[in-house]
């Protein structure tokens, strides 16, 4: 708008995490837990066991499905949490002004990170052999009939400086290091932002920009390596050089969808009144654009492997496309994560009006969760995978816990960084 009128917004507004919101989140949690419980019982009594044993594979246990489901949600929600911090840092590195009122929303996602780190490490030690083939010691023993030369060659990446097949020190150290630094940067951002509220001035902004730059350098490396560690190493023989970006793109779209949904939720409750359709439009463009970016990476990975037709590479897609369990989900994945956002969010109006965005972002969260399920399940569960009550229940449990933690943290601080030097710019944001 051309008119730069005076703006009188309540900058001390604070999100009221009311009992009714808590109640609805807890209701979803309970429903999720019940579905999860039923799913576990069904998995325990399900009749997949004989099949696996007959095929000469190791016998399938119901709890493997539980572990795989835990792992999918660990990785997925860790991604959403770290993308909140990442997108926050991007705003400072890019010197963006439009996003000033919603910075705290982005950062709030990071509150899940400490919990995610604990869950990730705990799940790794509990699930161990059932998730990661490379944790078996016999793979590295040259005298064992199951000795695997390829995995032995990659062993140092997990076990250095320990002996291969013992304790995966390097792997665990990376996990601890990544979560440690991510939480460190998250706390740093929170701390500087809180100081800015107290003292004002532009020096905090400059400080934040420096820390954002450090974080982004660290994140550039750690996001890729964590994708290899946590997702790609499940299919230990296989590798793809762009896998790190592919996982990052999936995380980014999910994180952007989560940010957009929280912003729209807060706006619906009457907060963030300075956030108008121009800001929503920008969020919509991010979701739209990075959905295409995800598709670009998905397809780049697929096309090269398909075209080169090298057996050790194609095995990844053969496992998925020739399976009755997973092949439908490949197309569901592309439909939900590319065709739907592409055609629905193409017009300007659909990006400016909350209804479409809410719909698309919700579907994208489910879509990218399915994407992660497709990455994890075939390598861990083989033909015993799929999307059943167990998976759905686990998703609801994790989702409601994340929502509870994030909204709870959001309610503790002011919703808006009231001394951010670019607030005025963002009031006048117009596209």
């Amino acid at each position: 708008m051309a008119h730069h009128g005076e703006h009188h917004y309540n900058l001390d507004q604070r999100f009221d995490f009311t009992a009714s919101i808590k109640k609805s989140i807890l209701t979803v949690l309970v429903i999720g837990a019940i579905i999860l419980g039923i799913g576990i019982v069904l998995a325990m009594t399900g009749g997949h066991h004989e099949e696996g044993a007959a095929a000469g594979e190791h016998a399938f246990h119901w709890y493997e499905r539980l572990y795989a489901s835990l792992w999918v949600n660990n990785v997925f929600f860790t991604g959403i949490a770290i993308i909140g911090v990442f997108f926050f840092a991007i705003q400072f590195a890019a010197q963006a002004g439009w996003s000033a009122p919603i910075l705290r929303v982005m950062l709030s996602l990071g509150n899940w990170l400490p919990i995610a780190g604990v869950l990730m490490i705990a799940t790794f030690f509990v699930a161990n052999h059932d998730l990661f083939h490379w944790t078996h010691a016999y793979l590295f023993d040259q005298n064992d009939p199951h000795y695997d030369k390829i995995i032995d060659g990659k062993g140092a990446f997990f076990y250095w400086p320990m002996e291969k097949g013992t304790f995966p020190l390097f792997y665990i150290a990376r996990m601890v290091l990544f979560f440690g630094f991510w939480v460190f940067f998250f706390n740093k951002f929170k701390q500087i932002s809180a100081q800015e509220d107290q003292l004002g001035g532009s020096s905090h902004w400059y400080k934040m920009r420096s820390w954002s730059a450090y974080f982004l350098v660290f994140f550039a490396v750690s996001s890729s390596v964590s994708a290899w560690d946590w997702v790609m190493s499940i299919d230990t023989h296989w590798f793809s050089t762009l896998f790190g970006w592919y996982v990052f793109a999936s995380w980014f779209v999910s994180g952007l969808s989560a940010i957009t949904l929280i912003v729209l939720f807060l706006k619906g409750k009457g907060y963030l009144e300075m956030v108008n359709e121009n800001h929503v439009h920008d969020l919509g463009k991010f979701v739209f654009g990075f959905s295409i970016f995800w598709t670009y990476l998905w397809f780049s990975q697929f096309l090269l492997i398909y075209y080169a037709n090298i057996p050790e590479e194609t095995v990844y897609f053969i496992e998925r496309l020739s399976s009755d369990v997973y092949s439908p989900f490949i197309f569901v994945n592309l439909g939900l994560n590319f065709f739907l956002p592409f055609f629905v969010l193409m017009t300007r109006d659909s990006k400016r009006h909350g209804v479409f965005l809410k719909l698309v972002c919700t579907i994208l969260l489910v879509g990218h969760w399915i994407d992660f399920t497709l990455m994890v399940q075939p390598g861990t569960l083989g033909h015993n995978g799929g999307l059943g009550l167990l998976e759905v229940g686990m998703f609801l449990v994790y989702g409601s816990l994340v929502a509870y933690v994030v909204l709870g943290a959001l309610a503790k601080k002011n919703l808006i960084a009231k001394n951010h030097p670019m607030l005025e710019e963002s009031y006048n944001h117009h596209i």
Binding site: M1, A2, F299, L303, Y306, Y307, A308, N309, R348, H430
Partner: protein, 176 residues
């Protein structure tokens, strides 16, 4: 199309003054022919009351045309015209077609959009643009009012409205 020939021009130094002037002039019932400015003025099309361009629709349709043409072309070539086995794939191997289809989509969307823009903006090579005031290519904003469209208003009244709105000069301009 008969082109109107008599115009009255308001000359403005400042874009903020111009934006308010456009609102004032429109508010007093004068119909504005067009505003010429040396650079894009943010919010100008909004105060002028212009409707949103329909160019994105043209882009989408041309893009779809590109996709269909590319797919048809490749399918026809690879399946019927000159079937070849490449990399052990089917003749019509759909994933192979996607990069070319993507490029054709972008190409035709871009060409189509530029073409439609040139046509709707009357930017044909032999078009003779009417220069209202040469300084609109330098440092002045020119607000042009078509007298034929404002026959209900006195000439002096329009001049007064322009001067009141902050115009540094008010000129008359006629074309042959």
């Amino acid at each position: 199309m008969e082109r109107d020939t008599h115009f009255i021009l308001g000359v403005y130094d400042d874009e903020d003054v111009l934006l308010h002037a456009v609102e004032k002039v429109r508010g007093s019932g004068v119909k504005i022919h067009e505003v010429y400015s040396p650079y894009p003025v943010h919010g100008l099309e909004h105060v002028l009351g212009y409707k949103r361009s329909k160019l994105p629709i043209a882009a989408f349709l041309f893009g779809m045309l590109g996709t269909s043409l590319a797919l048809t072309m490749q399918f026809y070539m690879m399946k019927f015209d000159w079937p070849m086995i490449i990399g052990g794939k089917d003749y019509a191997a759909f994933p192979d077609f996607i990069p070319v289809s993507f490029e054709m989509t972008v190409l035709l969307a871009a060409f189509g959009m530029v073409g439609v823009f040139l046509i709707t903006s009357n930017l044909k090579p032999w078009a003779q643009p009417r220069i209202f005031d040469l300084r609109s290519t330098d440092d002045k904003h020119i607000l042009a009012i078509d007298l034929a469209n404002n026959s209900s208003l006195e000439l002096e009244k329009i001049k007064e409205i322009l001067t009141d709105s902050g115009a540094t000069e008010v000129n008359k301009k006629s074309f042959d």
